[in-house]
Subunit: 534 residues, 2 copies
C-alpha cells in the first residue's frame, strides 16, 4: 500500500497537470481531446479542466460533443463557472428556437439553480435568470401577469439565498415590486424583509468559512502538507457550520444544503476517505441508508484500494441486516484468493462466525490456512475466537499447537500462545512453550520472549526460578553483542523490577530516574568501548 502511495503521489503531479492543460489550450480540439481525457481521468472533479475542455468544443461549435461532455461532468462538478458555461451553451443552441427554445432555457436555469442555487457565488445566475425571464415576450396582459409572477417567484427565492449579491438582489426586488405596484410592494417587502435580513446575516457568517477554502485546488491524495490540512480543516468547519442549520430552514432544505456542501467538498477532497465516510454516515444517520450505500459505492470508485472504506461499507450493510450484500463486500476484500491479506481472512472468518455460525467460520479457516498469505495472525485470531466466542479451549489449544509447527520462529506468535496458556492458568505448558521457543529462536529474536518468561516467573515461580530465568536471559542476550559485559551482572534495576507491583515501586521516582539514567550512561559507554575495539 505504501509503495502504491508513492506512485500515486507521482501521478498526481499538479505542475505537470497545469502544463498539460496549458498545452491543450493551444492545440486544435482533435489533438487536445486526448490530453483533456488524460487530465480528467486523473482529476475527474477538476471543474476548471472540464470547462476548458467543453469551451474548446464550444469554440468550434461541436454541439453534440459539448452536450456529451456536459452530461459527463455537471453532476460531479457543482461549480458556478462551469455551469454558467452550460447555460451559455443552452441559450446559444435555443436562441433561434422560439418559445420551445425559451422553455428549454428556462428549464436549464431551473436545473442549474436546483443544483447550484445555494452556492454563495450563485448571485449572478439568479440575476441572469431574472433578466432572462423579464425579457420573455408577453402577448397579452395575462401573459404579462404570468411573467411578472414568474419573476417575483425567482426574486423571492433569490433574496432569501445567502449569496455575495444578496443586497443587490434585494434592491432589485424592491424596485421590481415598486414598479409593479407601490401599494402591494409595501406589504410584500415588509413580509420578506426579516427573511432577507436573516439570509444576509447567514451570508456574512458563511462567507467567513467559504473564504478559507481554496476553490482552485486540484483533488490530489493527501500528502500531509500543511496547506492540505488547512483545506481539510476549512471544509470540516464549513460542514459543521452547515450541519448546524444556521438559517433555521426546514430540515429537507437544510439536508439539501448539507448534501450540496459535501458534494462540493468531495470535488476537492476526492481522495479523503474520512470525508466519504462522514458523508455516508451522515446519510445513514439522517435515515437515508440507500443514499449512504450510494456514497460508499462512489467512494470505492474514487478509492478502490481503501480497505477501511470497504469495511465501513460492509458494516453498514451488515448493520441493516443486508448480510448478502455485506458478504459480497467481504468477498471483494478477499480478492482473487492468491493475494488475500491475512487481515481479510481474519475479518471474513469473524464475519462468517457472526452471520453463519461456527461451522462456516471453521470451514473457511481450514481453507485459509493453505493461502500463501496466511500468517500467524490468522491462527491467533481463529484460536481466540474459538476460545472467547465458542468457549472451546481445546480447539483453541489445538489451533495454537498446529500453528506452532509453522510459526515457531515468530516471537510474537510465541507470546500470543503464551498469553493464551496464561489465560488457561497452565503454567506447566507455558514454561514448556518458553523453553521450546527459546531453544530454537536466535537470541536477537528472543528479547521479548525472555522478557515475558522473566515476568512469568515473577508471577508463577519461586525466588530461585525467578533469579535463574533472569540470569539465563542475561546470558542468552549478552551473546547478541548488543549488551555490554555489565549486562551479565544483576543490577539494582532488576531488583526494582522484581519487587515492583503494578504502579507500586520499591523506590522513589528520583531513584528510578537515577537508575534509568545510569543504565543509559552505562550502555552508551559500553557501546563506545565496543565501537572503539572494532
Amino acid at each position: 500500500m505504501d509503495s502504491d502511495n508513492v506512485i500515486v503521489d507521482d501521478k498526481y503531479n499538479i505542475e505537470a497537470a497545469e502544463i498539460l492543460a496549458n498545452e491543450a489550450q493551444h492545440l486544435p480540439i482533435t489533438e487536445a481531446a486526448p490530453l483533456y481525457e488524460q487530465l480528467l481521468t486523473l482529476f475527474p472533479t477538476a471543474a476548471k479542466y472540464w470547462k476548458q475542455y467543453v469551451e474548446a468544443h464550444m469554440a468550434v461549435n461541436n454541439d453534440d460533443a459539448t452536450k456529451q461532455l456536459f452530461s459527463r461532468c455537471l453532476l460531479n462538478c457543482l461549480q458556478i463557472p462551469l455551469w454558467r458555461c452550460y447555460i451559455r451553451f443552452i441559450r446559444k443552441v435555443n436562441e433561434k428556437k422560439g418559445i420551445e427554445g425559451q422553455e428549454e432555457t428556462r428549464k436549464a436555469f431551473d436545473f442549474m439553480l436546483s443544483y447550484l442555487g445555494a452556492d454563495i457565488a450563485s448571485g449572478p445566475v439568479w440575476m441572469e435568470y431574472i433578466t432572462f425571464l423579464k425579457t420573455l415576450p408577453a402577448q397579452n396582459t395575462q401573459e404579462e401577469s404570468q411573467r411578472m409572477t414568474a419573476v417575483r417567484k425567482v426574486y423571492q427565492k433569490a433574496i432569501i439565498t445567502p449569496t455575495h449579491h444578496i443586497e443587490q438582489l434585494w434592491k432589485d426586488y424592491e424596485n421590481f415590486e415598486n414598479s409593479v405596484s407601490r401599494q402591494l410592494a409595501k406589504g410584500l417587502l415588509s413580509e420578506y424583509q426579516p427573511k432577507y435580513n436573516s439570509a444576509r446575516a447567514v451570508y456574512r457568517e458563511r462567507k467567513k468559512y467559504v473564504d478559507e477554502i481554496d476553490w482552485n485546488m486540484l483533488a490530489v491524495p493527501p500528502s500531509g502538507s500543511y496547506k492540505e490540512e488547512l483545506q481539510w480543516m476549512a471544509w470540516k468547519r464549513l460542514l459543521a457550520f452547515e450541519k448546524g442549520n444556521p438559517q433555521r430552514i426546514d430540515s429537507a432544505s437544510s439536508n439539501k444544503r448539507i448534501i450540496f456542501t459535501y458534494e462540493q467538498c468531495l470535488m476537492y477532497l476526492y481522495h479523503y476517505p474520512d470525508i466519504w465516510y462522514d458523508y455516508a454516515t451522515w446519510h445513514a444517520k439522517t435515515g437515508s441508508i440507500d443514499a449512504a450505500v450510494k456514497v460508499f459505492q462512489r467512494a470505492l470508485k474514487a478509492l478502490p484500494d481503501s480497505e477501511m472504506l470497504r469495511y465501513a461499507y460492509a458494516e453498514l450493510e451488515e448493520s441493516r441486516g443486508a448480510i448478502q450484500s455485506a458478504k459480497k463486500i467481504y468477498e471483494s476484500l478477499l480478492g482473487d484468493g492468491v493475494n488475500t491479506t491475512a487481515l481479510a481472512h481474519i475479518q471474513f472468518i469473524r464475519f462468517l462466525r457472526r452471520t453463519e455460525g461456527v461451522e462456516a467460520a471453521r470451514k473457511y479457516f481450514l481453507d485459509a490456512r493453505k493461502s500463501p498469505n496466511c500468517t500467524y495472525h490468522v491462527y491467533v485470531a481463529y484460536a481466540m475466537m474459538a476460545f472467547c466466542l465458542d468457549k472451546d479451549p481445546k480447539v483453541a489449544h489445538n489451533v495454537f499447537e498446529a500453528g506452532l509447527k509453522r510459526f515457531m520462529h515468530e516471537p510474537v506468535y510465541i507470546l500470543e500462545y503464551a498469553d493464551f496458556l496464561t489465560r488457561l492458568n497452565d503454567d506447566r505448558n507455558i514454561r514448556a512453550l518458553f523453553e521450546r521457543a527459546l531453544s530454537s529462536l536466535p537470541p536477537e529474536e528472543s528479547v521479548e520472549v525472555w522478557k515475558r518468561f522473566t515476568h512469568f516467573e515473577q508471577t508463577y515461580g519461586d525466588l530461585a526460578s525467578m533469579l535463574k530465568v533472569e540470569q539465563r536471559r542475561k546470558e542468552a542476550l549478552s551473546r547478541t553483542g548488543e549488551e555490554g559485559p555489565s549486562a551479565l551482572e544483576g543490577s539494582l534495576q532488576d531488583v526494582v523490577s522484581r519487587y515492583t507491583f503494578m504502579d507500586l515501586w520499591p523506590c522513589s521516582s528520583n531513584d528510578l530516574d537515577h537508575l534509568a539514567r545510569q543504565e543509559i550512561i552505562q550502555k552508551a559507554q559500553e557501546l563506545k568501548l565496543i565501537a572503539n575495539r572494532l
Copy 2:
C-alpha cells in the same frame, strides 16, 4: 519519599558545609567540636573534615580526644592525608618512648599500608616508612642486618605497587641494594625489574581512571547533576578496571584491591544505592556471602529509607536459605504497621506464600486488609496469587468481589478485575462488571474502563453490541467536556480500530498518519472553540 528527598537535598548543602568548616577552623576546639560533629553526622565519610577536626585537637595536644577521633574515622575514610596525619600523631606520641615507641610506630606504618598501601598516592608513605626504618638504631651487625632486611622487604613491596612515586622508589631501591652489595644487587634487581615494569605499566593505565575522579567531592545524595553523573561513571570505570585484575596478581590480592576501590568509592558515592548493591553482590559472587550481608547492613545504615536495598538484602538472605533473617528484613519493611505501604504488604504476603505456605499468606492478608494503607493493589496481588499459584479461581474471585465493595471508585481496580474475569473467559460477568462500574464511576474517571469495554465487545460481542458500546462510550465521555461535539460521531478511525487485528491494519501507514493528524487538528480546534466560548 520524594518529599523526604527535597529535605535531604536541602540538608546536604555543600556551600553551607564549607562555610561551617571554615568557621570551625577559627574557633577554639571546645566551640568548634559541636560544629564538626554536626558536619560529620551529615558527611561521615568526609576525610577532609575529619582531618581538620583531628588536627584541631592535635594542635592543643588533646591526645586522648585525638585517639578517639581516629578510631571513629580511619576505617571509613581510606584517604592518604588523613592517615598521614595519624602517622604523624603516632610518631609524636611515641617519640620519647624508646624501643617500645619505635615498635608502636612501625606497627602504625604497617597498619596504614595494609589499608592504604594500594593507594596510587601512597608513594610518600612508603618512602617515609623506609626512611623511618633506616633511621632505627642498630646496636650490632645482627641488628643492622635485620634492619636492612626489613628495609628491603618494604622496598620490594613498594616497587611492585603502582603509585605516583614508583619510579623514584625504584631508583631508591637500586641505590639501596647497590649500597648494600653490588654483587647481590644485580641478581635482586634483575629479579624485580619485570615486576616493577609491570606495576609501572599498570600505574600508567590506572592513573587515567584515577585522574577522572574528584577526590574533593562531598558525599551528597544524587541530585542528577551532570557533574555527579560524570563522577559515577568515573568510579564505575575504575571499578570495572580493577575487576579485570590488570596487574595479574593473585586473586586474594586482586579482591583486596577491589574491596579497597569499593570502599574508597563509597566515601564519595555514599548515597548511591546501586554502588552498595554492586559491592554486596560482588561479594556474594566472590563467595563471601557474609561480607555481602555486612555490606547490606552498612548500606542500610547509610540509606535507611531505601526499600529496594532492603528487598535486595532480603533476597540474598532468602536465596541462601536464611529464611528467618529474610523475614526480619521483611518485617523491617512493614515497620510499625500503621504506615506500612501497600507494596510492603504485598511483598510480605508473597514471601510468606513462598516460605511458609498458603495458610500463612492468607492469614496475613486477612490482617493486612484492615491496615489503613491497604489499597486495591493488595487485593489484586492476593487474588492473583490465589489464582496463579494456588490455582484457586474461586478464592481469587471472592477476593476481587470483596475488594469491589471498597474500590468500586478505582478504575484501575475495575480493569484488573476485568482482566481476571477475562482469564476465566467469563464474559457475562465481565459485561456485568463494566455496567456496574460505569454506572457509578464519574465520566472523567471512566475513560479507560470504556476503552476496555469497547475492546471487550470487539472480541466477545457481535457487530451490534460493538457499535452500541462505542456509541454509549462517546455519549458518556462527551459529557466530560473534554471531547468536542464531533466526538459524538463515529469516525473512520473507529472503523480502523474495529477492523484492526494485532499489527494488521485495514489501511496504509500513510492513511493512519493522516487520520491521526486529523483527529489532533479536530480536537485542537474544538478545544479552541470551547475556550472561545468561555
